[in-house]
């Protein structure tokens, strides 16, 4: 009986932490100060099961699988026009308040449209040169969840 319990608990833990609530550590500074380098979190896979990512949501973007993911913030949705002027974010020509951006930024990026079934994601830490930050448009199918906190 004890062995059966151990087996069932192990199976549940494997399925839950392997597929539904995947533990991860943040590596890198692109989401600082919201998510500091080395922090521990969980990717909740069911976050967008019945809804779509909204502006300001923090999402996890997959590569080939879920072993390595990017943690980014959605700043624009499909059909919208994104632009950076003197470090400020503009969507459809309107300036967007971003309280989570704490470090000074001087980015400039010409206007570009977000394609169908895509979102535009950027990190919170924009203190580095624009060339050194990994951001941009990605397919919604690559968004596999959101951090638990």
């Amino acid at each position: 009986m004890f062995l059966i319990r151990v087996f069932l608990v192990s199976l549940f833990a494997y399925l839950f932490f392997g597929f539904l609530c995947i533990p991860f550590t943040t590596q890198g500074i692109s989401m600082e100060p919201t998510y500091p380098d080395g922090g521990v979190n969980f990717c909740w896979r069911l976050r967008y099961l019945f809804s779509e990512p909204k502006r300001h949501d923090v999402v996890t973007v997959r590569f080939a699988g879920s072993r390595v993911m990017l943690l980014k913030r959605v700043v624009a949705r499909e059909g919208e026009q994104v632009e950076f002027r003197a470090g400020r974010l503009y969507v459809n020509g309107k300036e967007i308040e971003e309280p989570y951006v704490r470090f000074p930024c001087n980015w400039s990026l010409p206007t570009r449209g977000v394609e169908k079934d895509c979102v535009y994601v950027v990190g919170d830490n924009r203190s580095m040169p624009i060339e050194g930050h990994h951001f941009g448009q990605t397919s919604k199918s690559r968004i596999i969840g959101a951090p638990l906190w």
Binding site: F63, A64, G65, R67, V68, K72, F135, G136, T138
Partner: protein
């Protein structure tokens, strides 16, 4: 007594399966082995001697078919390369780093045709340049490998653009 024989039989069958899988690896394992070799030869420790560096440079080239096509969102990197060019570029790139580690994740192997393997994976290159700068680059890759003389060779590598600025 019967149970004893049964147990011995089961253990022997398990050993046989493990041995067969080791001695005759599946095609998928053979394909993955080429990636692990690439990872091993690209990686560099701070103590690496010049002799090992030269050997690894030469070895890297042997993994590729001639020519091998590289497709990248960076236009200047795209093109067809010979084995010698690949070895030379790998050597030049490695020489800028004191330490390099190529890690491969989530390898998905498909066989769309006979003797052709398509592999989708995540590659992460972590290292430190000779000037002390930390490097951490992650890319999703689509690779095409072809089998020749019972060995798999990289014939095409495409860098997938996950985020498009």
């Amino acid at each position: 007594m019967k149970i004893k024989y049964l147990l011995v039989g089961v253990v022997m069958v398990i050993i046989g399966i493990v041995l067969a899988a080791t001695v005759f690896p599946s095609e998928e394992k053979r394909v993955k082995k080429r990636f692990y070799l690439l990872s091993e030869w690209v990686s560099k420790s701070p103590e690496e001697s010049a002799l090992i560096m030269l050997q690894k440079m030469k070895d890297i080239g042997t993994l590729f078919l001639e020519p091998c096509e590289l497709r990248s969102p960076n236009e200047f990197l795209s093109g067809s390369y010979t084995r010698q060019e690949i070895s030379a570029y790998a050597g030049t790139a490695r020489s800028h780093f004191s330490q390099l580690n190529l890690k491969l994740y989530d390898l998905h192997v498909d066989f769309p045709e006979k003797e052709v393997a398509k592999v989708n994976l995540t590659a992460r290159l972590i290292g430190r340049s000779k000037t002390g700068e930390r490097v951490d680059e992650i890319r999703e890759l689509d690779c095409l490998l072809k089998k020749m003389d019972r060995k798999w060779f990289f014939s095409q590598i495409e860098v997938i653009e996950v985020l498009k600025k």
